[in-house]
């Protein structure tokens, strides 16, 4: 069975400080993992994806994530937060075939000036 847990429902950082959004997954198969961002009243935009190539994945807007199989984690990081990063972030896991997609509950990121 697959599952995904986003460990924080809310994260608050100051502008210019690092961002860490945590995601743990469970999968019986080799998973594909994704991070999406959703700004208010918009759809989900793909930030980055892991599909069994390099374990450190770079995405758009300076975000990156590291796949750690031993820890079953796929945490999202950014060295320096910007006000425009304030949004909700979703960690997503799929298995082969792509039809079974599990979304995390989301982490809302607040960025203080």
């Amino acid at each position: 069975a697959q599952s995904v847990t986003q460990l924080d429902s809310h994260v608050s950082v100051s502008e210019g400080t690092p961002v860490l959004l945590r995601c743990n997954y469970s999968s019986s198969y080799s998973p594909s993992l994704f991070w999406y961002v959703q700004h208010p009243n918009k759809g989900l935009q793909l930030l980055l994806k892991y599909t069994s190539a390099a374990t450190l994945v770079k995405g758009i807007n300076g975000f990156e994530a590291e796949f750690k199989k031993s820890e079953t984690s796929f945490h999202l990081t950014k060295p320096s937060a910007h006000m425009s990063d304030a949004a909700e972030y979703f960690c997503v896991v799929t298995r082969s075939g792509g039809f079974k997609t599990i979304f995390g509950a989301g982490t809302r990121l607040f960025v203080k000036a």
Partner: protein, 115 residues
Amino acid sequence: DVKVTQSSRYLVKRTGEKVFLECVQDMDHENMFWYRQDPGLGLRLIYFSYDVKMKEKGDIPEGYSVSREKKERFSLILESASTNQTSMYLCASSPLPDRGNQPQHFGDGTRLSIL
């Protein structure tokens, strides 16, 4: 860039009405999906389709149906709208996976209110 277009951003309908939500994608993707998003419940899959005229139930299909007559268009139908179907509806598409899984591409959503 992939574009997934949902026909309405905001929609207000009355209880008992038949409601159509339309979604069009321009990248020749085989797979299309309908989700609803509610606070505290995240995204829940209603239906998906992996080919024209093919459909599969997701996790919460009750009260909904879908239609896919053309590859680029996937319609969600609320047969008799009820107030508990007030929600944000998101359409997504993805290509067939090659050796790995492909991400889904989302529209901007339709915020539907049933009065």
